[in-house]
Amino acid sequence: MTRSTAQRSGLIIPKEAASLSTLTATMAVMCYLACLAIGALILINRAVDSWAQGLSEEVTVQVREMETRDIDMDVAAILARLQETPGIDGAEDIGRKAAAKLLEPWLGTEGLDGLPVPRLLRVRVNREMPPDFELLAQELSAVTPAASLDTHRRWEAQLTRMAGTLTALSLLILVLISASAVAMVIFATRAVLDANRTTVDVLHLVGAEDSFVGRAINRRFLATGLWAGGLGAVLALLTFFVAGHAGLPQADGLSAASRSLFYLPETGWWLTPLFLLAVPLVATLLALITSRVTLLRMLRSLT
């Protein structure tokens, strides 16, 4: 009798007296949006890393046609010079046709044959020991005044700036989502406390500390944070999965981006889900800490 009675101790604040279903639903949406923002953040960083790596591994040497010079001889001389330069892993002429093809989007296909199309040399750079590009540019100019070196630094800088802006935007979205979640938890905490004033008064009268009352109410927010966060993360994972496998021609980029979140064997497929599963933990912590601080403040204002 004694043991069974003890085991059946009722909840001080019952579930039905602290209904947080609205908060759970809205927080689940917030967590879902947070997961999407995190997914975007991961995608941006991976894309920029891969682009930046490609750009820094290669430089381009452009050899222009000059009336007084033979362009083929200039190209051969430049290639020979490049092969001898330390820090260069290889160089190749992409050919006149390929160079002309690069101009097609601007000039069209007609009449390119008569134009003095510059020759482009693709140069692979050793990432560990890259050459001194300033010195290399001077050396190439000395070989032929028709040669110029493009290190892609301008593109890389623009890319980094764009990635930085997108990352900052994603982080701002995460901060705004967190702030909204905090505000919602504060309102919900006040509502729960108002709905349970009689219970709280009785608890105080029988000698309960604020921390006891806080714990009794906080339990409900623990469940809310875990549910909402879990639901948001699972929905976001499903969204990425469906977007990656939907095969909609109108959303090719989105599909490829979603797939790339999961299929990166070199970094481990589990990294993305791990990041997204951090959302329920953060949401729970946020709900717990916010409701606790709000509760203790409000309880202190009571007699």
Partner: protein
């Protein structure tokens, strides 16, 4: 045990509810508190169970000036005071057992430790068979006995009762009165607020009469 010195109280900017109220309760004493409606009995009791602070004057309880203690130091003092309300103030979502056990639960005791004491007390107040019933299905008398059991389960040194017989029939009122007298005989100091002067005959005790904010001993 309890000493009030020149206590005054008003709600907000309203008129004085209590004016220069002074009295003293010795340890183990039993006193009635009476007076017309609106005389300030409930306000006085609220001051004594530390739900209000006086506008002026001093209240010494258990050798401590409770008008000066910090809010965070109130819970341990409240645990030494048991309170019974006319409207019971039981929590409807908790069983009779859990309601009675509440003071022990908030004091951090584990159910396995207090379960036997709670059942013994429920037996003593005649509610053993209602241990798992919830307040909405209890009668007025049963609720009041559960409220009394909750007030005394933690063995308080001071028991304050605010019209505990106000919602029960005369026969049950006499039985409850007998219960308070028994608790007092076991060592608890009791201050019993009531309108019912017939109860004064049951227990020979000083009567504190509150009228127009002032107090006199009959």
């Amino acid at each position: 045990m309890l000493e009030l010195n020149e206590i005054g109280f008003r709600y907000g900017r309203g008129q004085d509810i209590l004016q220069n109220v002074s009295f003293r309760l010795q340890r183990g004493a039993f006193s009635f508190l009476t007076g017309p409606s609106g005389a300030g009995k409930t306000t006085l009791l609220r001051l004594l169970f530390l739900a209000l602070r006086p506008a002026h004057g001093r209240i010494r309880m258990f050798g401590e000036d409770v008008t000066r203690v910090a809010r965070s130091d109130l819970p341990p003092l409240r645990r030494r005071v048991g309170v019974v309300f006319q409207d019971f103030r039981l929590l409807d979502h908790l069983s009779t057992f859990d309601n009675v056990a509440l003071p022990l639960r908030v004091a951090g005791q584990r159910p396995t430790h207090y379960a036997r004491d709670v059942m013994d007390l429920l037996d003593w107040v005649g509610l053993k068979n209602q241990a798992h019933a919830f307040p909405p299905v209890l009668s007025g008398g049963e609720k009041q006995r559960a409220a009394i059991a909750r007030a005394v389960i933690a063995k308080p040194e001071l028991l304050l009762a605010d019209e505990p017989t106000g919602n029960v029939d005369p026969v049950l009122a006499r039985r409850l009165m007998h219960l308070f007298a028994e608790l007092n005989r076991l060592g608890t100091t009791v201050l019993f607020a009531t309108h019912d002067q017939s109860l004064f005959k049951q227990v020979r005790a000083p009567v504190l009469y509150l009228q127009d904010g002032g107090l006199r001993v009959l």
